[in-house]
């Protein structure tokens, strides 16, 4: 056996042990802090990876008898098969979506009849942050309005349309809360649509039709987005884009763009508006 082969085998072995330790850390974190994998199926994926790494390092490191080899490989394949089956038969509905720049992950899991929104840590771990107001019927779609604003559009059990916005950033100094509604104060225009924010609320003008939403019909998510609601159904979402610049004194957006996005199960384009 060459030294090089031995080194590769050892590295594979150490990686397997490392992943195994990660699984054990997961169990500890789960018991102590209710941490979950951001996608529950990651658990099985790691198991399969551990099995593959062990198998490879075994083949690289040792010359085994034929029968021993067959038995070991059979055991490994069986283990992988079990884990693969569990991946595909996973009982908990999950919505996991990664942002276009791969920096943020939007996670919603349906547990005990509740749709729960999770915050992720280091990509693989997640903790529940809040519960969605309505129970998902099954139909849903996710749009990343910007790299740090994900809009989940879904039908509730009574067929009403709702939106939940996951936000992962901030356009202010990052240290204080601000109202998106007041940051939008004034007029914003796009090619075929515009919004106007005034003391009564927000008026959306799209394709010739106008609709005004009072402040109590405007629901803020994080510090990046608002959803305009009519009769308990989501109609529009307005999100502050990456280039949105806010005057820190007045808390009003002075430059940059915002996104206007219609709530619908059908494909809708994200409309970009500017001052």
């Amino acid at each position: 056996m060459t030294n090089r082969k031995k080194l590769v085998g050892l590295i594979l072995f150490v990686m397997a042990i490392g992943l195994f330790l990660l699984q054990m850390i997961y169990f500890y974190l789960h018991a102590k802090f209710f941490v979950e994998y951001s996608d529950n199926r990651l658990f099985y994926v790691f198991n399969i990876a551990i099995a593959l790494l062990f198998g490879l390092s075994m083949i690289v490191l040792f010359n085994m008898k034929r029968t021993a080899k067959i038995i070991s490989i059979f055991m490994l394949l069986l283990f992988i098969l079990i884990n693969s089956t569990l991946i595909f038969k996973h009982p908990i509905p999950q919505i996991v979506s990664v942002s276009p720049d791969f920096k943020n992950i939007f996670v919603v899991k349906e547990i005990r009849g509740e749709a729960r929104y999770y915050r992720t840590y280091y990509g693989i771990f997640a903790r529940q942050k809040e519960t969605l107001l309505y129970h998902l019927k099954g139909e849903y779609k996710i749009n990343w309005v910007t790299n740090d604003v994900a809009a989940l559009t879904y039908k509730a059990m009574d067929d009403s349309l709702h939106q939940f916005i996951g936000t992962y950033g901030d356009r202010g100094s990052g240290i204080s809360y601000y109202y998106v509604g007041s940051a939008l104060y004034g007029e914003w225009k796009g090619s075929n649509s515009s919004i106007s924010t005034h003391t009564e609320g927000i008026t959306v003008n799209h394709g010739g039709s106008k609709e005004t939403f009072n402040w109590d019909q405007i629901v803020q998510f994080g510090t990046l987005a608002v959803v305009l609601v009519d009769d308990h159904e989501a109609k529009w979402i307005i999100a502050l884009n990456d280039d949105f610049i806010m005057d820190s004194g007045s808390g009003i957006g002075v430059a940059g763009t915002i996104s206007l996005f219609q709530a619908s199960m059908e494909h809708k384009e994200i409309l970009i508006l500017k001052r």
Partner: protein, 301 residues
């Protein structure tokens, strides 16, 4: 080397198999049961009942659109057989998470609630909510504005009602029971149609009704000394200084060998900030009153 490798990998394999079983079990606990029909969205989970305290142990709550009362600070609850909306019907626009003050009694001995839809009824229990009885206070059904129920002892109690208001005139009446609320008789009335402010009995004979809610200029105060069969207007000797200042009489109370009552400044009073009251006393069972002192807002008996 080889031995170590296989021991470690077998150990890992065994632990992982156990972990998988554990993981699956934890998922099963949290996955939605397929057999249970999902509740409709609008239906909210019943929140644990939070008592609104009346005394330190006794409380009630109007959560979940029913009236529940507790005698042990929220450990055990009794549901009162009453439709919550009936407790608020009439001319009432306040919040419906708490009962209207004076429209109910909740004490160690008894619980009683006025319902003001249709015939005005008193729903009462004398055994901590085990049994309930309903008695009719008033057959007619005006739109009730003022409502008050109180008992001086096990037997004697009274209900004061007003309603059918047009502008600043209304019907008002007082109903008296001598059998613990089983039956009520309508007492005679002073014959005024001004808006009633309050009323009370200090004992089984002597009672008072106070009128004047909108822009009162002087107390309009009636007294009965024969349990409501006849009423006389009480007269106040108000010093010039307090004329048109102390205008509305509150509930009289016994003080030594005489009666005392506080006169407040009404809704528009501005003397010394508007909260100072005038104390008047009477030595003739409430017929004539003379000024005693000013009472600061936090010095009230």
């Amino acid at each position: 080397m080889k031995k170590l490798f296989f021991i470690v990998s077998s150990l890992v394999a065994v632990i992982l198999v156990i972990s998988i079983i554990n993981y699956e079990r934890s998922l099963k606990d949290s996955s939605p049961s397929k057999n249970i029909v999902n509740p409709p969205v609008s239906e909210q989970k019943p929140a644990p009942l939070q008592p609104i305290p009346v005394t330190d142990r006794i409380g009630y709550t109007l959560q979940n659109n029913e009236l529940n009362i507790t005698y042990d600070n929220g450990i055990n609850w009794v549901t009162v057989p009453v439709v919550v909306d009936h407790l608020f019907s009439g001319e009432y626009n306040g919040n419906k998470t708490e009962l209207i003050p004076d429209s109910f009694i909740l004490s160690d001995k008894s619980a009683a609630f006025l319902t003001t839809i249709g015939p005005i009824k008193l729903i009462a229990s004398l055994d901590n909510g085990a049994t309930w009885q309903e008695s009719i206070v008033y057959e007619n059904a005006p739109a009730i504005r003022f409502r008050k129920v109180d008992f001086l002892n096990d037997q004697f109690g009274y209900v004061i009602l007003s309603g059918d208001r047009t502008m600043s005139q209304e019907w008002s009446s007082i109903f008296i029971t001598n059998d613990g609320g089983n039956s009520f008789r309508e007492a005679s009335s002073p014959g005024t149609t001004r808006l009633i402010y309050n009323g009370s009995f200090v004992n089984e004979k002597i009672g008072f009704l106070s009128y004047g809610v909108i822009n009162p200029e002087e107390p309009d105060f009636y007294v009965t000394t024969d349990a409501g069969y006849s009423w006389n207007q009480a007269s106040f000797t108000i010093p010039e200084k307090y004329h048109k200042v102390f205008v509305t009489a509150e509930e009289p109370y016994k003080e030594g060998d005489h009666l005392a009552v506080l006169l407040n400044q009404g809704p528009n009073g501005d003397y010394m900030g508007g909260k100072v009251k005038g104390k008047f006393i009477s030595f003739d069972q409430g017929l004539t009153w003379k000024f005693a002192s000013e009472v600061a807002p936090n010095d009230e008996p």
